[in-house]
């Protein structure tokens, strides 16, 4: 076990003990679930578009190396400079090189999960570059000095009162008003000045079209447009799985992403960026860069079962419907991607020594699978990661790191008992007679009995009951 590994169990217990946090999440997730349900009231339409979107993502994965080459070719033809990064360090170095060349002092950023993965803000700040998150939720979280707790609604863990206090403390001349409209307008004033002055704008990518060299970006606030239009340089970051083959593949993804995420039929803005400012054009950045990041994705791609992880379109619906995420919130995971998708993606990127606890934080209820718009078999992958966590030699980094000698002995005893009819009869008879005498405070039992009644063993085994009915043992 990595000594610096996040302690998911401890963080979860702390979250469970915070009624304000639980209330904030409960209210938010209930709202998001019911809004999504309204959008997919027509089951036939849901199944049809979902199958289409899943096929689009699978087709992209089936041709991934060719599509990335094609994307590079079309982007380059359009005037976009394409960069490749095997690791987050390489991606950060690419960003810094561009920033140094253009002597950037101020960067405005749209929402980008990949840059969270890269810890880009910390790298830029260490280099003396001011970087400002411009999505309102991300801006709030940045002011608070914490990290996003949801990939779509980064500040969902805070209520209006908490945000009003934060703004009062951190923004000059802010009034103490617990009013979302006032707080939004205050952020508008601060950030508009930054958009105007920024040297570089940064963004993520929702889908990159190989056919046309187009970067698609969806958002509600207009900050994505500001970051990709107003500063003289735009740098976009994407995980290598974000490519799609054709322009026609964009509508199914756009149809499902906002409906799954927040229950909106579409986001306010769908941006399709196909190059820097052309001669004669009056606005738009003069340079556009695309950074394609691997960071373990090619390893995920190598395994035919784990590969499905890369279908994800980052809608966050799995989080909204997850009974574990809904109770503990996003910060307990201490990861760039929380919730069900985080539980399968992060351990594969960062390894099981550091993230081996994450796949265990699942009830296997399948809610995430039922609502996933691209049909990722999240629970199956979770099961596979649980096995990899305790079995060395698998495909995932640090396989076997969670192996426990006690657990191995228990399972080996269980296997031996079930392999021998005599041992099985002896053990089941013993449990019927003595099992109820075991105190609920026993190690391994007490975590269960803390919040549940201890199960009672029947006085007669199934075999006894069968024999009594005249059914012979085989």
């Amino acid at each position: 076990m990595d000594g610096n590994a996040p302690d998911f169990a401890a963080a979860s217990l702390a979250a469970l003990a915070d009624p304000q946090l639980r209330g904030n999440f409960r209210r938010a997730m209930d709202g998001l679930m019911s809004k999504r349900a309204v959008q997919f009231a027509d089951a036939g339409e849901w199944h049809g578009v979902r199958a289409l979107a899943a096929s689009v993502r699978l087709r992209a994965l089936s041709k991934l190396p060719e599509l990335l080459e094609k994307l590079e070719e079309t982007c380059t033809r359009n005037g976009i400079t394409v960069h490749w990064a095997a690791t987050t360090d390489e991606a950060n170095a690419i960003a810094l090189d561009i920033l140094h060349r253009v002597e950037a002092k101020l960067v405005v950023k749209g929402k980008s999960m990949v840059t969270e993965e890269m810890h880009l803000n910390a790298v830029l700040e260490k280099d003396g570059i001011e970087v400002l998150e411009s999505d309102l939720g991300e801006y709030i979280v940045q002011l608070d000095g914490t990290m996003p707790s949801h990939i779509i609604m980064p500040a969902i863990h805070l209520n209006t009162k908490q945000i009003a206090h934060l703004f009062k403390r951190k923004i000059k001349d802010a009034e103490s008003r617990e009013d979302a409209a006032y707080l939004t307008d205050l952020a508008r004033r601060v950030l508009r000045a930054k958009f105007q002055a920024a040297d570089v704008g940064m963004s993520g990518v929702n889908a990159a079209v190989a056919e046309t060299g187009t970067l698609c970006l969806i958002e509600n606030e207009g900050n994505g447009r500001m970051c990709t239009t107003v500063p003289p340089v735009h740098i976009a970051f994407m995980g290598l799985e974000k490519v799609v083959e054709k322009l026609e593949d964009v509508p199914p993804v756009i149809s499902l992403l906002p409906r799954s995420a927040t229950g909106q039929p579409i986001t306010t803005y769908v941006n399709m960026i196909s190059g820097p400012r052309k001669p004669g054009e009056q606005d738009g950045p003069r340079e556009v860069h695309l950074v394609i990041l691997d960071n373990g994705r090619s390893g995920i791609y190598a395994d035919p079962e784990l590969r499905d992880t890369l279908r994800c379109i980052r809608c966050g619906a799995c989080m909204n419907h997850c009974p574990v995420y809904t109770k503990v919130g996003g910060h307990a995971y201490e990861a760039p991607y929380p919730g069900p998708i985080g539980k399968i993606l992060v351990p594969q990127i960062e390894g099981l020594a550091k993230r081996g606890a994450m796949p265990h934080a699942c009830t296997m209820c399948n809610a995430c699978v039922e609502i996933c718009p691209v049909k990722i078999p999240i629970v199956e992958i979770m099961g596979r990661l649980r096995v990899e966590a305790v079995m060395p030699g698998g495909a995932v980094k640090d396989g076997g790191a969670q192996a426990s000698r006690t657990e191995a002995m228990v399972w080996s005893g269980w296997a031996a008992m079930n392999a021998s009819p005599t041992a099985y009869r002896f053990a089941t008879a013993a449990m019927s007679k003595l099992g109820n005498a075991a105190p609920s405070s026993l190690p391994m039992l007490k975590e269960w009995t803390n919040v549940r009644t201890k199960p009672r063993f029947a006085s007669r085994t199934l075999h006894d009951l069968a024999r009594a009915k005249g059914i012979p043992d085989v």
């Binding site: 900050n223 239009t229 964009v250 149809s255």
Partner: protein, 220 residues
Amino acid sequence: MSDARTSILSKLRTTRDAHPLTPPVSDYAPIEAKQWPNEERLPRIRRLMEAVHTEFLDATEADWPAVLRDFLAREGVGSLLYAPETDAGKRLVEGWNAGSTTLIPYDRPLESLKPQLFDSIDAGLTTTRGAIAETGSLILWPTAEEPRTLSLVPHIHIALLRADALYDTFLQVMREQEWAQAMPTNVLLVSGPSKTADIEQTLAYGVHGPKRLIVLVVQP
């Protein structure tokens, strides 16, 4: 050629070839099936866009500049940025009576217009390439003559929508207008004024982009 590029592509190709993936056929029928009769498209677009605070004005080819002028005067809009080289821009200035609203041409690069654009211009006028009934979205196709920031920075965005340019779906418009043949620098779907729900899921309008979106529907 970077080392990262070579190693990433090589790894992807090797592992994919070892475990090829056969995807199901992409059946676009569920999107193609979304169709509305002519007379239902505009009411649907209005309903969806009004639900997110978009405002509509009705006009004809003959009177839209006058309808717009009256609206701007009524709302006390002091300045309107427009694209002087477009047909719509030329129509706008024809016979414009210097009243309460000053027309400002977008006739220079963003860099020299930035302070004015951010600090003192109230509204921007753009054309559209039509609208989409499925989602209630305007299609904006910025050009050298009609810059992107016209619809982004001013507090009010006014969009001209011709009532005979309505489509059922995003997919349909993309196919009929053959977007894949020549994408411009930037294409946009706009479905309302800028909004956010990042503060306790309370909807608030005008967070970074325009606070108001006015669609001027022009009947042929």
